[in-house]
């Protein structure tokens, strides 16, 4: 797609001359232009895209990093799907993560933004409270919430009086609940993030649109769903993509909690646990990374396609 749109964009250029014509530049300028784009592009491609593609290559190999590489075809993928215990839980947890963010955290952030946009008294304070966690790292969020979830020293168990060894609730140690506890902690930050982005979008909506809807007798809810939400389509799309990507990227908060084990397996931790420390299963780790790559590109490519096609039309 991109090659053909570039052609079109390029062939249409001479008529409506907006950008500088390349051919008019001196040789020195051409060299300079090539360097200005070439150096950043080379660094980006070498450190990001070359490893991403090498993940694909290495996923067909068995290699411990010391002895010779052995090419084993799709054996790594077969073993991941059949005999690697953390894999299916990791897939399930990534999807639960996505579902929780998509159905609860993101809509709640959008809801808060819509309420704050009404600029009631105290909006500034509310906004700051929701936005505060956004500047913190997810690793730190993990530590701060451990103070709340800790079985005998944590806030919750002390408040509800379940600190005795026989009745305490191990919020982060019990594999049937710990994922949801982590999701609440992660949402503490994600909600604020969505709120900030959406609030900026809402502020950009032409107020006369809302006024017109109000004069026509629309309720607040109707105004939002029928007028504001459709106008904000580009931002809705960005928020959707951010929500999905954040769910696939989830790592830090889980890793500081228990390294991605015991109910908290994720694809990202599975990749990391195959190379860090004593482990050195390079082909195996790469194959899990490729699965993560395919899932990510499944989101990234359609998103870019939409965004840049709209842009090519504009130009």
């Amino acid at each position: 797609m991109s090659a053909s749109t570039t052609e079109i964009a390029a062939s249409e250029k001479p008529a409506t001359k907006r950008k500088s014509r390349f051919s008019l530049h001196t040789r020195r300028d051409k060299v300079m232009l090539a360097l200005l784009l070439g150096i950043p592009a080379a660094i980006h491609i070498f450190f990001v895209w070359v490893p991403a593609l090498l993940s694909v290559v290495l996923s067909f190999a068995r290699w411990d990093g010391i002895s010779d590489i052995r090419w084993v075809g799709v054996q790594n993928y077969e073993q991941i799907a059949t005999i690697y215990p953390p894999f299916w839980p990791a897939v399930a947890h990534n999807f639960i993560w996505l579902g929780f963010f998509l159905l609860i955290a993101t809509p709640f952030g959008m809801f808060l933004a819509v309420q704050l946009d009404k600029e009631l008294a105290g909006s500034r304070f509310y906004q700051n409270a929701f936005y505060l966690p956004v500047v913190l790292s997810l690793a730190l969020v993990g530590f701060i919430w451990q103070l709340i979830y800790s079985p005998d020293e944590g806030l919750i168990n002390n408040l509800i009086g379940r600190t005795d060894p026989e009745n305490l609730i191990d919020w982060l140690g019990n594999p049937s609940i710990n994922l949801y506890m982590i999701l609440i902690a992660a949402s503490w930050r994600h909600v604020g993030y969505v709120m900030i982005l959406y609030l900026a979008g809402l502020k950009s909506v032409d107020p006369s649109l809302k006024e017109a809807a109000a004069i026509d007798g629309a309720t607040d809810r109707q105004t939002f769903f029928k007028v504001v939400f459709p106008v904000l389509r580009p931002i809705n799309l960005v928020i959707l993509v951010i929500t999905i990507i954040e769910s696939l990227r989830a790592f830090d908060i889980v890793y500081v909690t228990n390294g991605g084990t015991n109910g908290l397996e994720l694809l990202s931790t599975a990749v990391t646990n195959n190379i860090i420390g004593e482990a050195s299963r390079i082909g195996f780790g790469s194959a899990i990374a490729v699965i993560l790559l395919v899932l990510s590109l499944g989101i990234i490519i359609p998103y870019l396609f939409r965004t840049f096609r709209a842009e090519a039309k504009e130009a």
Partner: protein, 302 residues
Amino acid sequence: MTTTSSPDTKDKVATAQVRAKWRRRGLQTFLFITALVWLVPLLWAIYTSLRPYSSTAEYGYVSIGGEYNFQNYADAFTDGEMFKYFVNTLIIAIPAVIIVLLLSSMAAFVLARFSFRFNLIMLLLFTAGNLLPPQVLITPLFRMYLEMPLPSWLSSSGLFYDSFFGIIAIHVAFQMGFCTFVLSNYFKTLPPDLNEAAFVDGASVWRQYWNIILPLARPPLAALAVLEFTWIYNDFFWALVLMVTGDKRPITTSLQNLSGLFFVNNNLIAAGSLLTAIPTLIVFIILQRQFVAGLTLGSTKG
């Protein structure tokens, strides 16, 4: 609420106004409570950090009484050698932010102001690269870092692996996608005559970039600088995998050691966590405008 007030609809309007007032009050209460709930984790961490372990051991964690002081902060700072880790973070974050802004503004300048054959493909590549999960590249990158030599004055290990230089390099390469995307959108909004006038005057491409476009881009550069500093400061993953020497790790990654060091002393962990949060809280308080601008620059256009 500007409705026409003919006599017969007056009652309706009045009840509607009363209802609206109550709705507004309900909303206020809801927001107020939610905001308080949102502050609980941080307030709880602050409260815990101010009490010595002996007080919480005696009275319990959810209690009032005993001593309150800053001893945990002093202990976390000295026992956890946190100063060293803060310095490590600065050694990584400051050059990384400067280099990423320089390189991405160069790329964005060419992509936005000149019609090149590969413009769209390059922009796609940068944008897609910024959205990839880091774990997708880490396995080969880890191997590459072990194979790639560096002169000893740049890296005590002689490799990209376990060196500040290597961590800076991956931050620069990975963050470049986002910055290029944001800056190229901004450069496209600048009037096209700027280049043309300069071009007619015979200004070289470099001068157009350095003397004309870059000075106009101060607001987005400032916003991106704040945002990128925060993100790089908050990075946990790259240094976790690519930096093996504990003493060289940046502060966020070394949180892990901290919890091992202060095992079961939640008061110390609280203090250490909050110390780590201070630089980002400064961003929150003082540079909030730039941080939010940086976040929204990437979303409002595109």
